[in-house]
Symmetry: C2
Subunit: 314 residues, 2 copies
């Protein structure tokens, strides 16, 4: 039995694994080597190093464990045709992302950028008016697992939460839920608008200039989903005209954001380089999913956590 | 019946008050004028403009409503001897302060200063490792109303909370509570140490260099109570030797922090100019306490919210 990791985990994660499964031949490589593939039973990968040829080379491959949520770059059909089991680490981004979003909202409300700037200048300056999060209303676009976690934390801060999803069906930790198509009428109620929508044909350029005009002037808009939700031009126009108070963006139409982009020049924006889900505990959590899955799989149980349908993509 | 405000509230707060109580003679002055005092029944003040002489001048004064939590600067004995009722806005700082503390902790965990710095330089840079708040342990020194609110929010983030107070008695939203005298043995368990202790003879220089040596190297220390909890020299030594990860200070032994202070030169510190409790909603909240109190008082009921014993100071 051979398990091939196409990346090198830290010793404190790797060693207990090797110790727990002494009969398994573990191979850890910094990068995938094709001549290693032929004898591999289980592949552990970030999901960006596979193609049809490599699936063919891995003729004994029975299970791919993907240390990522997305499987866009994998050869879906080839994997499906061979009946290879695929499971991933879906949900692993939930806590770090929700914490990033709360961090950004609270930082703006409690004027942390103002504090940092004055400290840099060596100035004891109280000449600003911090606001508060409690008592506000937040609109969450796309309340899946991440959105629920954001809603749960916002409600702890006594924020009224409104969810918007395709169906309009109730979602935990949302005080109300609407259909995405009704978004225009809900926007004026929220001073916090958060998108964690994925990129699909329906969400591309979903938010237009008209939507931002509909928002309150004191709105904080956060996009932590996908960059093509709003066109860059609409964002620039919105922020230049100060239709809203501030935008916090973790995603952009073009990434990395080109150094020539006008967005860098605006002062009512926070530019986060698409790493709100990053965490020092990412691999640790992945191993917490992998180890029980491996135990199950070795016992012939293929009903693994986060088992996915590779053709559907989730 | 005359009510004298020794500050000028915004019209949107002032006007509904005047309207609700048409038989009362309201006077609003930007500053206290002594010749106004003689006919005053109720005084509404920030508590810093009174002295024995003024209490004597206000010979009809029956109730002082203090728009602040502290009454240190008031002539305690003179007020007590006249039997003047005193009530304040205790508890009003709870939410903004707890939000500030959460903002600072999350900002450090989710690397907001790093994001802001790179944005200023126009650089798309992910080269750092954000950590997470969930799963950590926090020690809260002085868990009164503010500490409870901090504990409540930290628990929502799945933080394990340990309180330290004089009695060691259980406190809501603390998983465990110890006596202040046992602090040394609890310190190594926490990666977040928050003080909101008031200034008393027992808390002066309570935390010594030995305490900081006892803390974990990845500790975030936040002082939002009073500046004399730690001597400035101990703080500088602790931060220079990197005994802890970071200090967030809202209070200092000398305020404003002198521009010559070495603290300004350190990079593992956040200097907040003693305004973590400031809020655009401060007066609005004060009026929410004052109005029902006034109704009660006019009905002869002296059992007002936040009625205090001026000699004890709370």
């Amino acid at each position: 039995m051979k398990i091939y990791f196409t990346f090198e985990p830290r010793p404190d994660l790797r060693e207990p694994l090797v110790e727990e499964f002494p009969n398994i031949d573990f191979v850890f490589h910094r990068k995938l080597k094709e001549d290693e593939l032929s004898g591999v039973d289980v592949l552990v990968t970030y999901g960006e190093d596979l193609n049809e040829k490599r699936i063919e080379l891995a003729k004994n491959l029975k299970w791919i464990f993907v240390v990522s949520a997305g499987v866009e770059k994998m050869p879906h059909q080839a994997i499906h045709d061979r009946g290879i089991l695929v499971s991933n680490v879906r949900g692993i981004h939930k806590k770090p992302m929700a914490e990033s979003i709360l961090a950004h909202i609270l930082a703006i409300k409690r004027v942390l950028p103002f504090i940092y700037e004055n400290q840099q200048k060596g100035e004891w300056n109280k000449d600003t008016r911090p606001t508060e999060l409690n008592g506000s209303t937040a609109l969450i676009l796309g309340p899946g697992a991440i959105g629920e976690e954001i809603g749960r934390l916002l409600q702890a801060f006594e924020v009224y939460t409104i969810g918007c999803n395709r169906s309009g069906d109730d979602v935990p930790y949302m005080n109300e839920t609407y259909q995405i198509k009704d978004i225009m009428s809900v926007l004026p109620r929220a001073e916090i608008v958060i998108s964690i929508l994925p990129s699909t044909p329906e969400t591309k350029h979903l938010l237009t200039y008209e939507h931002f005009k509909q928002m309150r002037r004191d709105t904080i808009f956060l996009n932590f989903g996908r960059g093509d939700l709003v066109s860059t031009d609409v964002l620039i126009k919105t922020l230049e005209e100060q239709l809203i108070l501030h935008a916090v963006l973790d995603v952009f139409e073009e990434e990395p954001l080109p150094s020539s982009s006008k967005l860098w020049e605006l002062d009512n924006i926070t530019i986060s380089p698409h790493f709100s889900s990053h965490s020092s505990r990412y691999l640790e959590r992945s191993f917490e999913i992998f180890k029980p899955s491996l135990r199950k799989w070795l016992n012939g149980d293929e009903n693994l956590e986060n088992k996915m349908d590779i053709l559907r993509g989730y």
